[in-house]
Amino acid sequence: MRRNKMRVTGAVAVSAVLALGAVSCSDDDGGSGGDGVTIGFMGDLTGENSGLVVPPYQGAKLAVDQYNATNPKVKITLKKYDSQGKPEQATTLVQGAIKQDKIVGLIGPAFSGESQAVNPILNEAKVPSVTPSATQITLAEKGWTYWHRVVADDAVQSAGAGQFLANAGVKKLFTVSDNQDYGKGLADAVGKAVPGAQVKSDAVNDKAADYSSTVNQINQFKPDAVYFGGYYAVAGRLFKQLREGGYKGKMMSGDGSLAAGLIEGAGQQNAQGALLSCGCLIDAAGKTNEKAKKFAADYKAKYGSEVAIYSTEGFDAASAFIEALKAGKTSTEDINGFLKTLSFEGVGKPIKFDEHGELAAQDIFIYEVKGNTLPLLGNSKEAKVS
C-alpha cells in the first residue's frame, strides 16, 4: 500500500518536473534569426492513409533541397511532423513546432480534420500555413488570416466532375459513398452537379467486403455512370464487384481514390477505363506545361518513383515559402504578408491566393486508368473519354 503511494507520488513528481521543463523552454514566441529557418510539414506520414501524404512531403522536400543547393542567404530546414492524420496528435505537435522549433511556416496539415484542429492555433501564433491537400470547403470560411491552400476544394471538384460527366453524355447517374464526411459530401455534390441527369444514390460500409446489394441496385437502375465518393480501398472493392456483377457503364471516383491501390483492389481488368477527378495535377508527360515535366523527372531521379497524388502541390506549397524567403522575408508576419501578394507560375498551376487563402484560379483534372497506370486525361473542362 505504502509502496504504491510512493510510486504514485514519484510519478506525479516526475511528470511535474517534465511539465515545468516544457514550460521553461517555451517562453518566447515566433520569429527567427540566424542563418536558417525551419519550415514544418505536417500530415499522416506513417498511418493508414500515408499513401496520400508521403508524395506531397517528397514534393516539398525536393523544392527545399533544390533551393538550399543554390546556397541562399537563408537556408531552410524542412521538419516532419507525423500527425498520422489524427487531430489530437496534430494539435500537440503544432505547439511544439511553434514554441520549440520556431517554425516560420507550415506545409499542411494534409487532411481537413487535422486542419480544423491545428489552424486556429497557427492563426493565434501568427504562423502562416499552406496546405497541399486539405480540400474541405468550410476551411476557407473560418476567417483564418494565416491559412492558404494550393489545391481546389471539394465544391470545385464536384462541379468539375459533374461538368465532365455531363460532357460525356451522362443522363443517368448513380452515386455511392462510404458514408464518411469526405466521401458522402463529394458524392452528394457530384449528384447535384450533373445538369438534367436522373440521380440515385446509395452508401456502402467501408469496413465490410460485400457490396452485392449496391451492385443489384445499380444493375436495376442501369445508369450511364457510377460516381463513388471515398477512398481507394473501398473504391477498388466496389468497382471490382460492379464489373463482376455485369455492370458495363462508366465508373468514376474522386481524389481519395487516385492511387495505384485502386487498380490493385479492383483488379487490372476490372479497373480499366475507370475515371478519377482531382484538384491535383499529376503530369509526368508534361501535357499541361513544361515545368511539370521537369518536376516529374527531378522527382523520379530523387525518389525512384513517379510523381503521385499531391506531390506537385507539395512542391508548389514549399515554393510559396521559398519565394517569400527569396524576397528577404524571414519573420512569420512578413512571410504571411508576402503570401497575400504572391503571384507566380507553380509547377501545377498559377499560385496566387485570394483574400480567403484559396487559389484565385482553381482547376480540376481528370485521370483515367490505363493498364497499370493513371495517366492524365486533361482539365475537366475539355477532357474527353476515349
Binding site: 460485400d210 446489394s213 490493385e264
Partner: protein, 321 residues
C-alpha cells in the same frame, strides 16, 4: 421501395445465400465452443482471418492464373484444405495458450472472455505488423492484400431470366452446405461427436463416464477452426481480398447468426447464418445499403425479445444437435 425489393429479389436472394453460407460456417465455431465450454470465443473471428491469409498464401504459392471452370473447384478444395489445416491448428493453439491455463485454475468465465479479447487483438496485430510484411512482403499501409486476376469468376453457371448465378457464388454455397452436412454427421454419428454432445450436456457426468474433457475441448476447437478455415477459403474466392482486421465485422455477424439460431445449436447456427445473410440483402434492397446492418440487428433484437433462446432453441447436448 417495394418495387426495388421485387425487382432485386432474385439477385438479393442469391447474394444473401452465398453470404449467409460464410456466416453460417463461421458461426459453427462460436456455437460449438459455447456449447461445450459456455464461452464466447471472441478470437474465433481472427482464426477466420488467419484462414484467409493461408488461402491467399496457397493462391500465390500454387501460382493460380485465371483458374476457371472445373479447375476452380480443384483450386478451392486445395485452398480449403490448407486454410482449414492452418485455422484448425491455430484454433487448437489458441485454446492451449489462452483458455486451458485458465480452465485448469478454475478461473471465472469472465477471465476467459477477457483472455479471448486479448488473444483476438494479439493475433490481429501479429498479422498486421509482422506476418503481412514478412510473409507477404508488402510494405503497403493499411494491410490490405488482394488475389485479383487469379480466378476467372465471371461465368454464369445458371442463367435463367432473372436468376443468374455466377460460378463463385455457387461454389461458396455448395461448399458451405457440404461442410455443414459433414459436421452434422460427425457430431451425430461418431464417438468423438458423442463425446462433444455429452460434455455439452453435463461435463461432470461426462468425466465420470470416461470422457476425456481435454480431448473433447481440443477437438471442438479443431473442428470449429477447420470450419472457419473453409469459410475463409470460400470468402477469398468470393471477395478476393483480405486484411488483418477482416474478421472483426464478419465475426460479429457470425456470432449474431449463432445467437439468432440459438447459440449452442449447430443446426441453429446454419439457419441463423442463412437468415442473417438474406435479411441483410433484403433489408438493403428495401431501404438502401446504409440500412443493411440496422435491419439485420433490429430483427435480431426482435427475435431475442420473443424467443430468447434463438430460432431453434438452445442445446448442443440434445440429440438434434
Amino acid at each position: 421501395m417495394l418495387d426495388d425489393f421485387i425487382n432485386q429479389f432474385w439477385p438479393s436472394t442469391i447474394d444473401g445465400l452465398s453470404l449467409g453460407a460464410i456466416y453460417a460456417l463461421v458461426a459453427l465455431g462460436y456455437t460449438m465452443v459455447y456449447g461445450v465450454l459456455r464461452l464466447i470465443n471472441f478470437a474465433h473471428a481472427d482464426i477466420f482471418m488467419v484462414g484467409t491469409f493461408a488461402a491467399l498464401w496457397t493462391v500465390r504459392t500454387a501460382g493460380f492464373d485465371q483458374v476457371g471452370g472445373i479447375a476452380l473447384i480443384g483450386a478451392v478444395v486445395l485452398m480449403a484444405v490448407v486454410a482449414g489445416a492452418v485455422s484448425g491448428g491455430g484454433a487448437m493453439l489458441l485454446e492451449v495458450a489462452a483458455y486451458r491455463p485458465l480452465r485448469k485454475r478454475g478461473a471465472s468465465r469472465l477471465a476467459a472472455l477477457i483472455s479471448a479479447i486479448g488473444a483476438s487483438i494479439f493475433i490481429q496485430q501479429l498479422f498486421g505488423t509482422v506476418i503481412i510484411h514478412k510473409v507477404f512482403g508488402t510494405s503497403k499501409e493499411g494491410g490490405k492484400l488482394d488475389v485479383n486476376e487469379h480466378f476467372k469468376k465471371l461465368t454464369n453457371v445458371v442463367d435463367a431470366g432473372p436468376i443468374q448465378i455466377s460460378n463463385d457464388k455457387l461454389i461458396v454455397f455448395l461448399g458451405a452446405v457440404l461442410m455443414m452436412i459433414a459436421l452434422d454427421q460427425f457430431v451425430n454419428r461418431t464417438k468423438l461427436g458423442r463425446g462433444i454432445r455429452s460434455t455439452a450436456q453435463d461435463p461432470e457426468t461426462a468425466v465420470l463416464m470416461g470422457v476425456n474433457i481435454d480431448r473433447v475441448v481440443t477437438v471442438t476447437f479443431l473442428v470449429g477452426g477447420i470450419m472457419a478455415g473453409v469459410a475463409a477459403a470460400l470468402y477469398m474466392v468470393r471477395f478476393e481480398t483480405t486484411n488483418y482486421f477482416v474478421g472483426f465485422l464478419l465475426g460479429i455477424k457470425a456470432f449474431t447468426a449463432a445467437v439468432l439460431g440459438g447459440i449452442g445449436n449447430i443446426r441453429g447456427a446454419l439457419a441463423g447464418g442463412f437468415l442473417l445473410g438474406l435479411l441483410e440483402t433484403y433489408g438493403s434492397s428495401l431501404f438502401g445499403s446504409g440500412w443493411r446492418d440496422v435491419v439485420a440487428f433490429s430483427i435480431l433484437i426482435l427475435v431475442l425479445m420473443f424467443r430468447p433462446t434463438g430460432i431453434l432453441g438452445e442445446s448442443l447436448q440434445q440429440a438434434r444437435a
